[in-house]
């Protein structure tokens, strides 16, 4: 429709605009390689900066995050000299980690078929395998971090973990609910070990006799529960480890090779 006040004659309108001598021409898709350095049909995802960042994040930063968890999960600081003590994972940590990965697959947090599909190139499969290995190592070491080292607390907390993971295995979960449930479970284990049990442990700086007179309850509980005497700094390191693991889990893509 033509508006009534619009002039439809051949009058020239004065328009303020910049003159461009050679306006950009749309790129032609032909076979001339000198005129067109890109492939004939470029993959828009390969060149997209967001996609590139996503790949760097998935294949480099996420494994580094998970392996940092694997590094710190077994680290304790001795009391009182703050020397590093690296504790290897017990066998039960591997069992729990395997159960956890099965949970991830069942809840759809990881789509196994897309991580390890036969349609994927070998290099992508290897890169996905490396990411999966780092996730497994981090999960093993997370349990190493949260399980008490020995004695009755080891068995009690270990049983709680086993019971929870076993019941989760038969429950209907979606990925979001699973991460929330695991966050609560792991958080509770952290509180039990690094707040409750750590506060029941008599400090190593006290002698045995001094401990009996000054902190008889703590000394008795340390002896009865066979609690290891680590520095308070251990709790801070393990809090960071747990936070890093949960952050990595939250940022883990369902399928690392899927393009947006």
């Amino acid at each position: 429709m033509v508006e009534p006040d619009r002039q439809t004659t051949n009058e020239i309108e004065a328009v303020e605009a910049e003159y461009i001598d050679n306006p950009p021409q749309p790129r032609e898709r032909n076979n001339d390689s000198s005129a067109m350095p890109r492939p004939a049909q470029p993959d828009v995802y390969d060149e997209h900066p967001v996609e590139r960042r996503r790949r760097v994040f998935t294949y480099i930063l996420l494994p580094v995050t998970f392996l940092t968890v694997a590094l710190l999960g077994g680290l304790r600081l001795s009391d009182p000299d703050l020397a590093f003590v690296f504790i290897g994972p017990s066998l039960v940590c591997l069992v729990f980690a395997a159960l956890m990965l099965v949970l991830f697959f069942r809840a759809g947090l990881i789509e196994f078929g897309e991580w390890f599909s036969e349609r994927l190139p070998t290099l992508t499969l290897a890169a996905n395998g490396a990411l999966m290995l780092s996730l497994f190592a981090a999960t093993v070491q997370l349990f190493n971090s949260l399980l008490p080292e020995r004695g009755i607390p080891f068995w009690v907390v270990g049983f709680c973990f086993f019971w929870s993971l076993w019941t989760y295995l038969f429950a209907e979960f979606d990925a979001r609910k699973l991460v929330r449930s695991l966050g609560a479970l792991l958080g509770a284990a952290f509180v039990a070990k690094y707040l409750v049990l750590a506060n029941l442990t008599a400090p190593a700086s006290e002698g045995w006799l001094q401990g009996i007179f000054q902190n008889p309850t703590k000394e008795a509980l340390t002896w009865l529960l066979d609690l290891p005497r680590y520095s308070g700094g251990t709790g801070y390191v393990q809090f960071f480890t747990l936070a890093l693991y949960l952050a990595g889990l939250f940022l883990l893509p369902r399928s690392p090779s899927r393009k947006r």
């Binding site: 390969d46 590139r52 790949r55 760097v56 998935t58 294949y59 480099i60 494994p63 580094v64 392996l67 694997a70 590094l71 077994g74 020397a83 590093f84 003590v85 690296f86 290897g88 290099l123 992508t124 290897a126 890169a127 490396a130 990411l131 290995l133 780092s134 190592a137």
Partner: protein, 175 residues
């Protein structure tokens, strides 16, 4: 960076970091300073094993000469230390023979011998003969030239015989 480069970098970074974590748990350093020291030791040990595997292993001549000089000065503890550093993989019959000899001379006594040192000397002599069954030392200062002779002397020293109570035994000489 295309997808392949990112994936290759990811695999390389993950592999290297994983090995670093395994190294830390195996080496058990107690401080950050100890991490670099243990890493250097591990790399040196791996390099020596690599030389053994590819057949280019050689003892450290300089340390061996220092050990030999200490051996001739009768400083057997220092000599053994230098010999062990010269041949960390225990692959050289001559070095092992000198180690055995240093144990023998240190453990030898006019009245009684040190059984523990003699036992360790036998182990080293056995290693020397296993490495080179026909080994014969060219050192003029040694009276026992072969691992078999040395082992025989050591085994005689470990036995308790009526001859041990002979008072003239104090006039015998160290070989």
């Amino acid at each position: 960076m295309n997808e392949r480069i990112i994936q290759i970098s990811g695999i390389a970074v993950t592999g290297a970091y994983f090995l670093f974590v395994v190294f830390l748990y195996a080496a058990q350093p107690r401080s950050l300073d100890e991490v670099s020291r243990k890493a250097a030791t591990t790399i040196q040990s791996a390099a020596t094993r690599g030389q053994v595997i590819i057949g280019t292993y050689e003892i450290d001549r300089e340390r061996f000469d220092e050990g030999l000089a200490a051996f001739r000065r009768e400083d057997y503890v220092l000599a053994r230390d230098q010999f062990e550093k010269a041949d960390p993989e225990k692959r050289d019959a001559r070095t092992q023979f000198y180690i055995a000899y240093s144990f023998y001379r240190q453990g030898w006594g006019r009245v009684s011998n040190d059984d523990e040192l003699f036992g360790r000397a036998i182990e080293a002599a056995n290693r020397a003969s296993a490495l080179e069954p026909n080994f014969r030392s060219t050192d003029e200062n040694l009276k026992l030239r072969t691992p078999a002779e040395l082992r025989n002397e050591l085994e005689e020293g470990l036995k308790v015989t009526p001859n041990d109570f002979n008072p003239l035994k104090i006039f015998r000489e160290k070989k």
